[in-house]
C-alpha cells in the first residue's frame, strides 16, 4: 500500500521536476512544478506530516505558483523558449555533470547511511497531534526563529514595494 503510494507520488514528483526543466513554455513548466508540489504533498501525508502537506498545497501551489503564473501572464513573457539554442556549448554538459555529481554525492551518502540512520519512536499522528507537536515545538525551541520570520516578511513586503513602486516622474506604466 505504502509502496504504491510512494511509487505514484514519486512518479508525479519526478515527472513534474523533469517537466520544469524540459518544457520550453514557462507556463507548462509552472504546471509541472505544481505536479511536483502535489507529489511532495502526498509524500508528506504518507510520512505523517499532515499539516505540512496542507500548507504545502496552500502556500506553494495556492500562492507561489499562482504568483508565478500571474507574473507570466501580466508581463506577457509566456513565449516558448527555444531550448535547442545553446549559448555556451559547454554549459549543458557541465550542468548535467554537476547535477549528476550532486545527486550522486547525496545518494551515495544516503545509501551508505541507510543502516546507520537512527530510528526513533514514531511521532504520534492521530487526530490533531501532528499539529499540536509542531505548534509546541514552534513556540518553545523555535520561538526566536518564529518571531524572527516576522522580520523576514517585513523585508519581503517592504522590499517589493520599494522595487515596484513607481517613481515620481516618468518611467514605465
Amino acid at each position: 500500500m505504502e509502496l504504491i503510494v510512494f511509487v505514484i507520488a514519486s512518479a508525479m514528483v519526478l515527472a513534474g521536476a523533469l517537466g520544469v526543466v524540459l518544457r520550453s513554455n514557462p507556463v507548462h513548466a509552472a504546471l509541472s512544478l505544481v505536479l511536483t508540489l502535489f507529489g511532495i504533498a502526498v509524500h508528506f501525508v504518507a510520512l505523517g506530516a499532515h499539516f505540512l502537506a496542507a500548507v504545502q498545497v496552500i502556500v506553494y501551489a495556492g500562492a507561489i505558483v499562482v504568483l508565478f503564473l500571474f507574473v507570466l501572464m501580466l508581463l506577457g513573457i509566456d513565449k516558448s523558449e527555444d531550448l535547442s539554442i545553446e549559448p555556451f556549448p559547454i554549459q549543458r554538459p557541465l550542468a548535467i555533470v554537476i547535477g549528476a555529481g550532486l545527486a550522486g554525492l547525496v545518494i551515495a551518502a544516503a545509501v551508505r547511511a541507510r543502516d546507520a540512520l537512527p530510528e526513533g519512536t514514531p511521532l504520534e499522528s492521530g487526530g490533531d497531534s501532528n499539529i499540536k507537536q509542531l505548534a509546541q515545538n514552534l513556540f518553545s525551541d523555535y520561538v526566536f526563529a518564529f518571531e524572527f520570520t516576522s522580520v523576514l516578511l517585513i523585508v519581503a513586503v517592504a522590499g517589493t514595494v520599494m522595487l515596484t513602486r513607481k517613481e515620481k516622474k516618468g518611467g514605465e506604466s
Binding site: 551518502a109 547511511a113 537512527p118 523555535y142 526566536f144 526563529a145 520570520t149 517585513i154 520599494m162
Partner: protein
C-alpha cells in the same frame, strides 16, 4: 485552549541580551512606519536616524562585552542564539559599517534625488539579519538570518531604477537563491545525522553518540553542500561568479554594504557552521577551505588586476580578501584553538570599515564623472581633490596590506594564524597573491596621483556626510593600523564561544 497544554513551557527571553537586534529592528520599523505616515523629513534626517540606531545597537553590544568577560558566554532563548564575544565583536563591526554606509547613503540618495526611508530601513533590517547570523546557535535561525540579509540585499542591489542595477539584483537573486538552497540542503543532511538543528546539540552529538563515530556519510555530503553554499555567500572562487556583476551594477552605497556587512555575516555563518557546529569534521572541511582559499587568493587578485572598472576591481579584490579570510578559517580548523578565529574576526571588523571608505571615495569620483567608475575617471584626482586622493590612498594601501594601516594588521593576523598551524604553503600563496593585488591597487593610485586627466574635468564635489564617513574610516584605518593592540586583545577572547 492554550492552558490545556500543561507540558508546554515557554522559553525565557533575555531581552537585554538581544537588545542590539531589537534596536536595529526597532529603528527599521520606526523608519518604515513613521516615515510612511509623515511628510518628507528634512534632508539627511532618515540617514541620521539610521546612523544613530546603528550606533545605539553597537553601544549596547559593547556594553555587554564586560558581562561576558565576567559570566562567560551563554546561549539565549532556549539555545537559539549564542551570546559570546564573537557575536558582540561582529555586531559592533556590522553596526559600525551600517553607520558609515548610512552617512554615505545620505549623499547618494540626495544626488539621485530620491530621499526616502525605505533604503535605510532595508539597511537596518539587513543588518539585523547579519547580527542574527553572527549570533545564531541554531542552523535554522542561521538560515533565517541569512535569508533576511540576502533578501534585503537582493532588493537593495536592484533598488536603483537603472538596467544595470536591476540586472545585478536579478543575477544576485538567482544565484543567491541557488546558494541558499544548497546551504539548506546541507542543513537537512546535518540534521539527518545529528537529529537536531541546534548547533550545541549538533556538536554534542558527535561526542555523546557512539554510532556517529567515524564520519557518517550523510554529514560528509551535508558538509560539502554547506561549504558550497557558504562559498557562494562569501564569494569564494569558484563560487564568486555573481559578485563582480553585482558589485558593479548595484548602487555604490549598496555595494559598500554588501562588501562590509554581507561579507562579515557570511563569514560569521561560516565560523558558526564549520568551526563551532562541526569541529569534529574539521579534517574533512579544512582541505576544502584550503582549496577555496587558494583559488580565491590567486584568481581574485589576478582577475582584479585586469579590470578597468574600479568598482569591478574592488569586487574582485573583495574576492581575494575573502581568500585571506578563508586562510584564517583554515587556520581555525586545526586542532589547537589558535589564532584562527580571532584573526578572522579582526579581519572582518577592519575590512568592513576599510571597504566602506573605499566605495565612498569611488562614489564621489564616479558622480562627478557622470557615474563613470572606470579607472580613467580617477586620473588627476590628486590635483583636483588632494584630500580625497589621500583618503583613497590610505584605503588602497590598507587593502594592499601596507604597514601602518589596518589592512596590514588584518593580513598579518590571518597569515600568522596559518603559519602558527604550519600552513606555510598557504601563507606563501597568500602573500604572493597580495603582491598581485597590490599591483592593482597601485594602478588606481597611479591614475589618481600620477596621471593627468584628459581634457577639463570638473572638480569632484565632496558632500559633507560622505566626507565625514570617509574621514572617520581613514582615521580608523591609520590609527588602528598603528595601535592595534586593544583590538587584538579583545579579539583574543572570541575563541571562548558559546555553544
Amino acid at each position: 485552549m492554550l492552558a490545556q497544554d500543561t507540558f508546554f513551557t515557554a522559553p525565557e527571553i533575555e531581552w537585554w541580551h538581544i537588545s542590539p537586534m531589537l534596536t536595529l529592528v526597532g529603528g527599521a520599523l520606526v523608519l518604515l512606519l513613521v516615515g510612511a505616515l509623515t511628510p518628507r523629513w528634512p534632508r539627511g534626517l532618515y540617514g541620521l536616524v539610521t546612523a544613530l540606531t546603528a550606533m545605539t545597537a553597537g553601544v549596547l553590544a559593547f556594553l555587554q562585552w564586560q558581562e561576558i568577560d565576567d559570566d562567560g558566554p551563554a546561549t539565549l532563548i532556549d539555545g537559539a542564539l549564542a551570546f559570546d564575544h564573537l557575536t558582540q565583536l561582529l555586531t559592533i563591526a556590522i553596526c559600525a559599517a551600517v553607520l558609515l554606509v548610512a552617512l554615505v547613503t545620505i549623499d547618494e540618495l540626495d544626488i539621485a534625488g530620491k530621499d526616502g526611508p525605505e533604503m535605510y530601513a532595508m539597511f537596518l533590517i539587513a543588518a539585523t539579519g547579519a547580527v542574527v547570523m553572527s549570533s545564531a546557535n541554531d542552523l535554522i535561525v542561521l538560515f533565517l538570518g541569512l535569508e533576511t540579509l540576502s533578501l534585503a540585499l537582493y532588493v537593495l542591489a536592484a533598488s536603483d531604477r537603472t538596467p544595470r542595477s536591476q540586472e545585478s539584483g536579478l543575477k544576485y537573486f538567482i544565484l543567491g537563491g541557488f546558494a541558499s538552497a544548497l546551504f539548506l540542503y546541507g542543513i537537512a543532511l546535518v540534521y539527518g545525522t545529528t537529529q537536531s538543528t541546534n548547533i550545541s546539540e549538533v556538536a554534542a552529538s558527535f561526542t555523546t553518540n557512539v554510532s556517529l563515530e567515524g564520519d557518517p556519510p550523510l554529514i560528509l555530503a551535508g558538509l560539502a553542500l554547506l561549504i558550497v553554499g557558504l562559498g557562494f555567500k562569501v564569494a569564494a572562487v569558484p563560487f564568486h561568479i555573481w559578485s563582480p556583476d553585482v558589485y558593479q551594477g548595484a548602487p555604490n552605497q549598496v555595494t559598500a554594504f554588501m562588501a562590509s556587512v554581507g561579507k562579515a555575516a557570511a563569514f560569521a555563518a561560516m565560523l558558526r557552521v564549520l568551526v563551532i557546529a562541526l569541529p569534529f569534521q574539521r579534517d574533512d572541511w579544512r582541505p576544502a577551505i584550503w582549496v577555496l582559499a587558494v583559488l580565491s587568493l590567486v584568481f581574485g587578485s589576478l582577475l582584479a588586476a585586469v579590470q578597468t572598472d574600479v568598482k569591478r576591481m574592488l569586487a574582485y579584490s573583495s574576492v581575494s580578501h575573502a581568500g585571506f579570510i578563508l586562510v584564517g578559517v583554515e587556520a581555525a580548523g586545526h586542532d589547537s584553538a589558535g589564532e584562527g578565529m580571532p584573526s578572522v574576526a579582526v579581519y572582518l571588523l577592519l575590512y568592513s570599515i576599510l571597504t566602506v571608505g573605499s566605495f565612498a571615495v569611488v562614489a564621489i569620483v564616479a558622480h562627478s564623472n557622470g557615474g563613470d567608475s572606470s579607472i580613467g575617471a580617477f586620473n588627476g584626482l590628486a590635483s583636483r581633490r588632494p584630500a580625497v586622493a589621500v583618503a583613497l590612498t590610505v584605503f588602497l594601501l590598507a587593502q594592499a596590506g601596507v604597514p601602518f594601516t589596518t589592512g596590514f594588521i588584518a593580513k598579518w593576523g590571518v597569515i600568522q594564524a596559518a603559519i602558527e598551524e604550519s600552513s606555510y604553503a598557504l601563507g606563501i600563496i597568500a602573500m604572493l597573491s597580495a603582491v598581485i593585488a597590490a599591483f592593482m591597487y597601485l594602478r588606481i593610485m597611479v591614475s589618481a596621483w600620477l596621471t593627468d586627466a584628459e581634457g577639463d574635468v570638473a572638480r569632484e564635489t565632496v558632500p559633507f556626510a560622505s566626507a565625514a564617513a570617509i574621514t572617520a574610516a581613514a582615521l580608523f584605518t591609520v590609527v588602528v593600523g598603528i595601535f592595534p593592540e586593544w583590538l587584538l586583545h579583545a579579539a583574543e577572547s572570541v575563541t571562548q564561544y558559546a555553544r
